[in-house]
């Protein structure tokens, strides 16, 4: 069970959180202007990297805030967590 650091509440067990998938995917400004392929890419395709992965977590059984986590998908080691929006240097860990 992962130990996740909520930027507001500190380290808590994974069971207090829910997972929100890959971070950093912005909703397109004008969806109607996109081709079916481009929309499907936004909708379905994720980078699924081996190694460092920025992802969203929600402290659903705690403060209910969404935040970002950088986690290694091989070792599951969490390199840090950060409040949203991500500005490239706001890791708590």
């Amino acid at each position: 069970m992962l130990l996740i650091e909520c930027p507001w509440c500190g380290e808590r067990a994974e069971t207090e959180f829910s997972y929100g998938g890959e971070a950093g995917i912005s909703r397109p400004e004008d969806p109607q202007a996109l081709s079916d392929e481009a929309w499907a890419d936004y909708l379905f395709n994720r980078s699924n990297p081996r190694g460092a992965h920025r992802e969203l977590w929600n402290h659903s059984q705690g403060c209910r805030r969404w935040f970002g986590v950088q986690r290694d998908t091989v070792s599951y080691a969490i390199e840090g967590s950060y409040p949203l929006p991500f500005d490239g240097k706001n890791y708590a860990g």
Binding site: A13, P31, L43, N58
Partner: protein, 999 residues
């Protein structure tokens, strides 16, 4: 009489004899015994029959690796099968049964299958019992009975279990010399320590050996160490506690058996406890398992692990035999030889190594023990106990057959094929294992978590090495925690130097491996060398496949005893090295764990939270059976006198259609939305034009996922310019709030919108039916209820009998209806006032079933029943809800090619031509009445009821291209019946123009 009990010694209490029963027979042991040691003391040799061949089997080991002595304790609801007698502590009145062998392991009728042994090779189930297929249920019944793995409890577990969370700096798994030394080092450095050991007494190997520490018996050092740990402030000591799972981020699970060792009359409190431990550092000191040697007929009762023999002598004062043969490929078995010799047994050592043992060998010779170097045991004889063994000279070539020239009488054969470190937890943690070429075993290699291994589990064999390794591990752990390691040193020990072992995976026999008597690898599953060879011949190469085909390591011991031997044999056959073949995956649990302790307190009433509305007690008093919706308990229907569900629902439905009914709708999700950007936000979430709603108006709204599928629905009310009130489905309340929050927090943090859940704070009483207006007037409603002042789909703050409410004119039944939203504190009172005010109109409380029928008559969907996550609003015919003037979540997806397909499943109504059959929900629909498999299915029924007001059944269905098929027939596939023709119709079955709700 305890024939095999020694007169003195051991850690048993001879002043406390304990009476127990095994297979009904009354026996006696002493406090401090395990069931296994007491059975051995009483010279009980056969404790079970093997799984497949029904061969008599005796006790082999003395711990969790025991494959044969599997017993059943308890009866009825407390029956517990699959316990290892070697781990069951004896108590007064214990009654155990062997789980294999019928009518008894001593005289087993199934043993005849032993004679068929040559036909029962690897994969025999797959080959023999699969055809003809229809016979399998019969085969299965017979196989299950003859497998005889004990009986499961027949009722709810009456015992109590609990879970406890714990945090520590250092968790030490295993309290042998290495674990104790690590714990002591950590404790005396000021660390918070938890040390757990699966046995009742700390000490591990020290409890069963003659080693001296500091010139004193090891047990003196043990006593002092345990007392130092006990008096340390921050040490939690957990005996009878198995660390059975190593999960992510140093989270470990420990099963503590609190009362299993006590007589039943003395048990109190929780029976077992699950510790959920988050440790900064972990020291794994779980020791090692001794490997059996793989010679012919190595499974006869009386063939035991050498280390187990030492344990039984030292710890339990039981000498399992008088004429002992010790067969080994390494030095460690010489301990057993010396121990046996010291208690008066006649001992012969057979050492496969031409050079024999060094210092250990000298000690044995000095003690007068005969040692045959460069010899092997090629087979045994005996019935229910080993009676003799054949011995051959050996030149070290494992591929040749040998001629046995000696036969020796014996009643005990102590064997040692070397040691395998218990790398289970290290592997579970994600660590890799490394093959040690000198020690011939897997040792912990690369780590991925904050842990280290120490002692025998790390490939350190002597007590001195184990103590040093434990000290180092403890020091390393506390320093990793940022603490200063205390100054401790390792006490001197007395043990001879050890020579390296010699690999001997399969002991050569007089015949080739396919024709010699069975050489067992896994006793519990009767897997032999010949089985592995057969599996390879039949094309299995991968160790995981061979395991599954031959059942190697499938038993309750999970291959602790036999797996490494099996993998080595496989490697030999494949011409590979052992690390090339590799091990099978180590998974939790390390040893079997009861389901009770995993469930903990989360059983019965505590299984799941129960949510009750503020009016719940009234419903119960009215005798309403409850329907569980999510965690809510909702009244299903309100039966009068002897009414059944159908009669009550018919009466309730007609009351709403013709008079007035009242329903507790408090479980609806309710979300208060405020802020200057509320309109902007809701426009993006909901599909309709939110901005056009006037204050005081309501709208039906749906939310889509970004994939365009319907996620939830409800009523949106505009209470102010910047203030909205949303309702959601009962089950969707939490998910919708989380959904809205996720968009606000991650995508549009610039929007000033605040969301508050009011689901529990606010209760909803729905008053529905032609007379509902009169009922509200009777309540002294402060608002003019005339339609021109308070039209359908509007909301007003109001006072009813002096209580402030939010009054909605909305309808889920299609009738004139009002929903009273009120602070939950006053909800029960308001309900009672509504009942009083409606008395003269015969106001009828109704439940969820009637609500379902009424809405289905109107063709209103229930998200999650009529939709399943693959249904768009277009499929439901709700195009009118989709704004053309703005973007909203999911809009773009509605024009994806798949969403534009004409043959998508669409919502339709169905009427059966016979006018009486209520089709089961979930029924598949066919284009043609032909059920020849595979019959193409074109849809399914989502809702189906008898409509009291219409007098015929109605159904909603999702049907491919359904809207264009109105008036056509489709066929409902019914079990064991001819398909039934039904007519496709438009969903509103009742009042299609919707006039009744507008009056």
């Amino acid at each position: 009489m305890q024939r095999r009990r020694l007169e003195k010694g051991g850690r048993i209490d001879r002043s406390r004899p304990l009476n127990f029963r095994f297979d009904g027979k009354a026996l006696q042991g002493f406090a401090g015994d395990t069931l296994a040691s007491a059975l051995l003391a009483n010279d009980v040799q056969v404790v079970g029959r093997s799984f497949k061949l029904r061969r008599p089997r005796g006790i082999v080991g003395c711990g969790s690796e025991e494959p044969n002595a599997i017993v059943q304790l308890g009866d009825g609801a407390t029956a517990e099968p699959n316990l290892r007698a070697t781990q069951v502590e004896l108590y007064e009145g214990l009654s155990a049964r062997s789980t294999r062998g019928w009518p008894s392991p001593d005289f087993d009728l199934g043993a005849v299958s032993g004679l068929l042994g040559r036909f029962l090779g690897a994969g025999f189930y797959y080959k023999t019992f699969m055809r003809p297929q229809f016979m399998w249920p019969h085969y299965e019944k017979i196989l299950r009975a003859s497998a005889g793995f004990g009986t499961t409890p027949d009722g709810p577990d009456p015992d109590r279990y609990e879970h406890r969370n714990a945090h520590c700096d250092v968790l030490v798994a295993g309290a042998g010399p290495a674990g104790l030394m690590a714990a002591l080092t950590a404790a005396e450095s000021g660390a918070r320590v938890i040390i757990a050991d699966e046995q009742g007494e700390f000490g591990g190997s020290l409890l069963g050996s003659a080693v001296e520490i500091d010139d004193q018996p090891a047990t003196d050092w043990l006593r002092e160490t345990v007392s130092r740990l006990t008096s340390a402030d921050e040490v939690l000591m957990l005996p009878r506690s198995t660390v059975f799972g190593y999960h992510d981020h140093n989270f470990l699970t420990v099963a503590e058996r609190c009362t299993d060792h006590l007589p039943e009359s003395e048990r109190g409190g929780p029976r077992q406890r699950l510790w959920r431990v988050r440790a900064k550092q972990v020291v794994l000191a779980q020791g090692a398992f001794e490997r059996p040697l793989v010679f012919c007929d190595n499974d006869r009762p009386g063939v035991m692990l050498a280390s187990a023999v030492s344990s039984y002598i030292h710890r339990y004062a039981v000498c399992p035999g008088e004429r002992a043969l010790v067969f080994t490929n390494n030095d460690s078995a010489y301990r057993a030889a010396l121990d046996l010799n010291a208690v008066g047994a006649r001992v012969l050592v057979v050492d496969s190594r031409a050079a024999g043992a060094g210092e250990w060998g000298e000690q044995a010779t000095a003690a007068g023990i005969t040692v045959l170097k460069g010899h092997i045991v090629t087979g045994t004889a005996g019935g229910k106990r080993v009676s003799s063994a054949k011995i051959a000279r050996w030149d070290g070539d494992p591929t040749k057959t040998v001629d046995s020239d000696i036969s020796v009488k014996c009643d005990l054969l102590a064997m040692s094929g070397g040691w395998s470190p218990a790398v289970h937890l290290h592997s579970q943690s994600g660590g890799k294992n490394r093959w040690d070429e000198e020690q011939h075993c897997f040792v912990p290699g690369e780590r991925t978590q904050a842990q280290c291994s120490a002692g025998a589990g790390n490939g350190k064999w002597s007590t001195a090495e184990c103590l040093q390794d434990g000290l180092d591990a403890g020091r390393q752990a506390v320093e990793a925690c940022g603490l200063q390691a205390g100054k401790l040193s390792v006490p001197p020990t007395s043990e001879p130097e050890t020579n390296p072992p010699e690999p001997l995976w399969r002991v050569p026999a007089e015949q080739d491996p396919d024709h010699c008597p069975k050489q067992f690898l896994d006793y519990q599953n009767d897997t032999s060398v010949a089985d592995i060879r057969l599996a390879v011949r039949e094309g299995y190469r991968n160790v995981e496949h061979v395991k599954r085909y031959t059942a190697l390591g499938f038993g309750t011991d999970q291959g602790k005893l036999g797996n490494i031997n099996g993998m080595a044999v496989l490697a030999e056959i494949l011409g590979k090295t052992i690390p090339e073949v590799g091990t099978t995956t180590f998974r939790p649990a390390y040893t079997p764990v009861s389901l009770g302790v995993l469930a903990g307190e989360s059983v019965g009433d505590l299984y799941e939270p129960v949510r009750k509305t503020a009016i719940h007690d009234w419903h119960e008093a009215a005798g309403a059976p409850m329907e569980i919706v999510g965690q809510w308990h909702r009244p299903h229907y309100f039966p009068r006198a002897s009414e059944d569900l159908h009669q009550a629902v018919e009466r309730e439905c007609l009351a709403v259609r013709k008079g007035v009914g009242v329903m507790d709708a408090s479980t609806l999700g309710k979300i208060d939305v405020r802020g200057p950007d509320a309109v902007t936000f809701l426009e993006r979430i909901y599909t309709h034009d939110v901005g056009r709603m006037k204050v005081g108006r309501c709208a039906y709204g749906i939310l889509l996922g970004e994939d365009g599928m319907v996620m939830d629905d409800g009523v949106m009310a505009r209470l102010g310019e910047q203030h909205f009130y949303l309702t959601t489905t009962t089950g969707g309340a939490a998910a919708v709030l989380a959904w809205l929050e996720s968009w606000l927090q991650t995508e549009w943090p610039e929007l000033k919108v605040y969301l508050t859940s009011l689901t529990d704070h606010c209760s909803t009483i729905a008053v529905a039916g032609p007379n509902s207006r009169e009922v509200l007037q009777n309540l002294g409603c402060s608002v003019d209820l005339a339609p021109e002042h308070f039209p359908f789909m509007s909301v007003r703050p109001a006072e009813l009998t002096g209580l402030t409410v939010q009054l909605f004119r909305v309808s889920f039944s299609g009738e004139l209806a009002f929903e009273i939203n009120i602070d939950s504190r006053h909800a029960l009172s308001m309900w009672e006032r509504v009942m009083t005010a409606g008395k003269s109109f015969g106001i009828t409380p109704y439940g969820t079933e009637t609500m379902h029928v009424l809405r289905a008559e109107k063709g209103f969907i229930i998200v999650g029943q009529d939709t399943d996550g693959s249904v768009t609003p277009v499929d439901l015919g709700m195009n009118w809800l989709l704004s053309k003037d703005k973007d909203f979540i999911g809009k773009r997806s509605l024009s994806r090619p798949d969403c534009l397909r004409e043959n998508r499943k669409q919502l339709v109504g169905l009427r059966s031509f016979d006018g009486r059959t209520v089709l089961p929900e979930g029924t598949q629909l066919l284009d043609r009445p032909d059920t020849t498999a595979p019959a193409p299915m074109c849809g399914h029924i989502t809702s189906s009821y008898m409509s009291p007001v219409l007098g015929h059944p109605i159904a909603l269905a999702l049907l491919a291209g359904g809207r264009a098929r109105r008036g056509e027939s489709v066929y409902a596939a019914l079990p064991a019946r001819e398909p039934l023709a039904v007519e496709v119709v438009s969903p509103p079955f009742y009042d299609p123009q919707g006039e009744r709700q507008h009056v």
